[in-house]
């Protein structure tokens, strides 16, 4: 096989922020670009972010060599409804948070363990019944993953995660 570029490039995760027109089909267009061109989506969030509701912010965590990441950004940038594309990973320090709701069903013995883990992770109890809890936990994705893993033995029932929200540190906007 012949490869375009012989130098070995390191595959890394990048968190991209994409500001788009908040109109029908934009998300499909962005996701379709990833699937159509064979790029990865590790994580995805989207919601309108301005008061008028005309702009949405899509945060995508993607994986690739520097060359692929450059291509992804350029390809996103040429889509008509895309206003701006920012690479938070490249732009320096940034804050990344994800929220998860984690439901556990606990027998007596597990209850203490569940509560202890929750405390350690600063998870909030947002629902409880006779034999169950729903915990709300926020943090970096790996923290959430760790939390969910620990809860496995404490009667984990189901999990929902929001995906990553991220902003660069400091006073500047994207």
């Amino acid at each position: 096989m012949h490869h375009a570029h012989k130098e070995i490039e390191i595959v890394a995760c990048h968190t991209l922020s994409i500001i788009v027109d908040n109109e029908a089909g934009v998300l499909a267009k962005v996701i379709g670009l990833f699937s159509g061109r064979g790029y990865n989506i590790e994580n995805l969030t989207v919601a309108p972010v301005d008061i008028e509701g005309t702009e949405s912010r899509i945060t995508v965590v993607t994986k690739g060599t520097p060359h692929v990441i450059e291509q992804i950004k350029a390809q996103l940038d040429r889509l008509v409804p895309v206003h701006r594309v920012g690479d938070l990973t490249e732009n320096g320090p940034h804050v990344e948070r994800e929220l998860a709701l984690v439901k556990v069903h606990c027998e007596n013995a597990q209850q203490q363990a569940a509560l202890r883990i929750a405390e350690a992770f600063r998870a909030k109890i947002v629902d409880s019944s006779f034999d169950s809890y729903i915990f709300e936990v926020t943090g970096k994705s790996d923290k959430i993953t760790a939390f969910v893993q620990l809860m496995q033995d404490a009667g984990l029932v189901e999990v929902v995660r929001t995906g990553v929200a991220a902003l660069t540190r400091g006073s500047k906007a994207l």
């Binding site: 096989m1 029908a24 089909g25 670009l33 159509g36 060359h67 350029a74 040429r78 008509v80 409804p81």
Partner: protein
């Protein structure tokens, strides 16, 4: 806002008039009847009724490419829209500005699997530059104007506007006029001046420079082609072109090396391989052009001018990227060159040209002529010779004939060569020729066709007949899907699986059936007579030119091979397969 209320259908027509649209190519159906009614009641826009919606888009492409204007298409919902998809994809890959207005089922029925409902915006999302579903008649006028802005600014492309039938009937006072920009889409036309200066310095230091130019030069407009000529002649460097860019630089000029790439000339490909500075202008390092990537022009510094940032560093890494419109960037480059380099003087390219002349002397386009069989190359040489003083436009279908046309026709001016480059769509050429002829009533418009391709949109003979369009279809009939057969010969042990054109129609009789003139020719001695008869016949002509059945198109850079590893027409040796070649396209 105007005081008067207009129906959505009237708004569509009025907006198109406002945007200087003179012709639309279309086909009616239930979901566009209000628009057809509005068309009926006016006389500013001419409607050309095609016989298949794919042909409507190709005709609009031909119109757009030969005029520099936007091509406009009107189709009905469901099958009308899905039939247009191939044409839209073709326009997407070749960056042709097209507006396609599609009818849709009434808004309240969307999503109910209504009769002739298709998710047109969903289906066309990735084969258009942008698309719209207009749910509110108050936004219709603005959307149409904005769609034109999007289709023509930056890298051009097709835009679909899906209009539910009820929106065509509702009325509104909300009327726009002139240019309506998109809210956020603002492609940059000017290139970065520092990058341009860097490019000029690099170019001035070159000993073996080459210009490699593409469809972007044509898309940028006549000024770009003019500036390119000035620049190339001022510098004295050789120039080669992609399939899409032919005509931007005059083929007869001695600095022009012919087309490059898979079926490019020996001199163009070798010069690309050996150059020390490459200036890529409005081309995109397509796989048909580069051949094997890791052996592509290994020792050159590369300058890349492109309006689309995503084309830069996509497959080939470049040293000086310049994002901008070709005409703007060339203008600035010329200014910088004149201001800084002209006095200092750049290198002499005598050695480089000596090398190129040596490659040229290989005469890579020569072929064995025969007395009793017409060689396709000969037919095209004669076609070139007998049309060269005419106001001529060429379109092509897809296959060997297309590549031979690119090699043997000498295109001197931009916008006179319409071929499906990126998508390689058989069936493109004839409807495209119809679009060209609509725009250039008195010009000689010739579709160089293959006997297989022409059958993909042969029904358009009826369209050409209806509008008295004197298009000339010049079929190089080798009784094979020649390009497929050639690959089967090269890569699949000459097992000609399903590539024989069985049960061909009698093209002369077929022409007659549509009221056109048919000519058949099968002797080299008769070819001039046939071509003259074709040119002199005042109307639609089909020429069935029977050519050698097993001729191959050379030179050829086989898939997986490098530029300097070409199969030449006089190579007798067994053709070797290149590593991984048979898995490539």
């Amino acid at each position: 806002m105007s005081n008067k209320e207009f129906s959505g259908a009237e708004i569509i027509i009025n907006s198109l008039v406002d945007l200087d649209v003179e012709v639309i190519f279309g086909y009616p159906g239930g979901a566009v009847l209000p628009i057809y009614d509005a068309l009926f009641k006016q006389d500013k826009i001419r409607h050309i009724l095609v016989r298949h919606e794919q042909a409507a888009v190709h005709a609009a492409e031909g119109y757009a490419r030969s005029t520099g204007k936007v091509g406009v298409v009107l189709v009905t919902s469901g099958p009308g829209a899905t039939n247009a998809v191939t044409g839209l994809t073709d326009a997407m890959l070749d960056s042709i500005p097209i507006i396609c207005i599609a009818g849709q089922v009434p808004a309240h029925l969307i999503g109910s699997d209504a009769f002739q409902e298709a998710d047109t915006v969903g289906i066309t999302r990735h084969c258009t530059k942008h698309n719209y579903l207009v749910r509110n008649v108050d936004t219709l006028s603005k959307t149409i104007h904005e769609a034109f802005y999007v289709a023509t600014n930056g890298r051009p492309g097709p835009v679909v506007i899906d209009v539910p039938k009820d929106v065509q009937i509702y009325t509104s006072k909300d009327i726009h006029s002139g240019v309506v920009k998109h809210r956020s889409y603002r492609p940059e036309a000017k290139g970065d001046i520092d990058q341009i200066k860097q490019a000029v310095t690099l170019l001035a230091g070159a000993k073996k420079p080459i210009f490699y130019t593409g469809g972007g030069v044509i898309n940028s407009g006549p000024a770009a082609a003019q500036l390119l000529r000035e620049m190339v002649q001022l510098i004295g460097a050789p120039i080669t072109s992609t399939l899409m860019g032919l005509g931007a630089y005059p083929a007869s000029d001695k600095q022009f090396l012919g087309m490059l790439g898979m079926h490019g000339t020996y001199e163009a490909n070798n010069a690309m391989h050996d150059c020390d500075v490459m200036v890529c202008v409005g081309a995109r390092f397509d796989d048909r052009v580069t051949g094997r990537l890791d052996a592509f022009s290994p020792n050159s510094k590369k300058i890349h001018i492109d309006i689309d940032r995503s084309s830069i560093n996509k497959t080939v890494r470049v040293d000086v990227p310049i994002v901008g419109d070709v005409a703007h960037v060339l203008e600035d480059m010329l200014k910088v060159w004149k201001a800084t380099i002209l006095e200092q003087g750049s290198h002499s390219y005598d050695d480089w040209w000596a090398q190129i002349e040596q490659w040229r002397s290989r005469d890579c386009l020569k072929y064995k002529s025969m007395d009793d069989v017409i060689m396709p190359q000969y037919a095209l040489e004669r076609l070139q010779e007998l049309t060269k003083d005419k106001d001529v436009y060429f379109t092509t279908e897809v296959g060997q004939h297309q590549m031979w046309a690119a090699q043997y026709l000498k295109l001197e001016k931009p916008n006179r060569w319409m071929t499906s480059g990126g998508l390689g769509t058989m069936g493109y050429g004839f409807p495209a020729a119809i679009g060209v002829q609509i725009a250039h009533k008195d010009a000689l418009v010739i579709d160089v066709a293959g006997e297989a391709s022409i059958q993909m949109n042969i029904q358009e003979l009826s369209t050409a007949a209806q509008y008295d369009l004197p298009v000339k279809i010049f079929i190089l009939n080798n009784e094979y899907m020649g390009m497929v057969r050639q690959w089967q010969e090269l890569n699949h042990g000459a097992r000609y699986s399903e590539s024989y054109s069985e049960s061909l129609p009698d093209f002369v009789a077929l022409a007659k059936a549509y009221g056109a003139h048919g000519i058949v020719v099968d002797k080299p001695a008769d070819i001039d007579g046939a071509i003259k008869e074709m040119i002199e016949t005042d109307g639609l002509v089909v020429v069935d030119c029977r050519v050698a059945k097993f001729a191959n198109c050379f030179p050829m850079v086989p898939s997986g091979a490098a530029h300097n590893d070409m199969i030449m027409p006089d190579d007798d040796e067994e053709i070797k397969e290149f590593e991984g070649g048979s898995a490539l396209v």
